[in-house]
């Protein structure tokens, strides 16, 4: 069975600095999708970024980018120019290549942003 591991329960960063959140996963599939979700104190789950495993190019969304290392099964999230509003729980998620597959979530990383 696939698993998703986030080894950093908490991280902190100073405003305007860069922080990287780690995620590793275990799978025997070659075709799959990876996601980062943000959960602010409001509890709403917000999709931050998505990566397709067959695409070698790392996904980027404004200040958010990923470092996708398929062979190492690693999918880290880099937040540049951190803002106070980035403070939240961040969840890494995996979904297999079949339409019957469901999202499998990691345990989350709580990010604090200091002014």
């Amino acid at each position: 069975a696939q698993t998703v591991t986030q080894s950093q329960p908490e991280m902190s960063v100073q405003e305007a600095e860069t922080v990287t959140l780690s995620c590793t996963y275990d799978t025997s599939e070659s075709d799959y999708y990876l996601f980062w979700y943000k959960q602010p104190p409001s509890r709403q789950m917000i999709l931050v970024i998505r990566q397709e495993a067959y695409k070698q190019q790392n996904a980027t969304e404004n200040r958010f980018s990923v470092n996708f290392q398929k062979a190492a099964k690693s999918f880290s999230l880099k937040i540049s120019d951190s803002q106070l509003g980035d403070a939240a729980m961040y969840f890494c998620a995996y979904r297999g290549g079949d339409n019957t597959d469901k999202l499998i979530f990691g345990t989350g990383t709580r990010l604090q942003v200091f002014p």
Binding site: V4, P9, Y33, F35, Y37, S42, R43, Q44, M45, L47, R50, F91, A93, R95, N99, T100, D101, K102, L103, F105, G106, T107, G108
Partner: protein
Amino acid sequence: NAGVTQTPKFRILKIGQSMTLQCTQDMNHNYMYWYRQDPGMGLKLIYYSVGAGITDKGEVPNGYNVSRSTTEDFPLRLELAAPSQTSVYFCASSPTGGNYGYTFGSGTRLTVV
């Protein structure tokens, strides 16, 4: 466009009581999901549905039931509530099974005392 709507947002139940968590989506998505979120545990799949009339168990289905009589609605039923069911419950939907991720509701915080 409301997206995925969950009610109630908060609820306190006594042990042994029953309740239904409501979930409605207005995006005509075929796929719908129920997850629970416990501190330090991430989100665990309870039940899911790939279309009206079709439901299936996820990773942690015990103590729960679901139905899917329409495309829009996917209620989650808790029978004989137990303290172990204290959690935050999320409903989500997807048009294509999740390869573009899910749209989540805002969650229901349930406490069983």
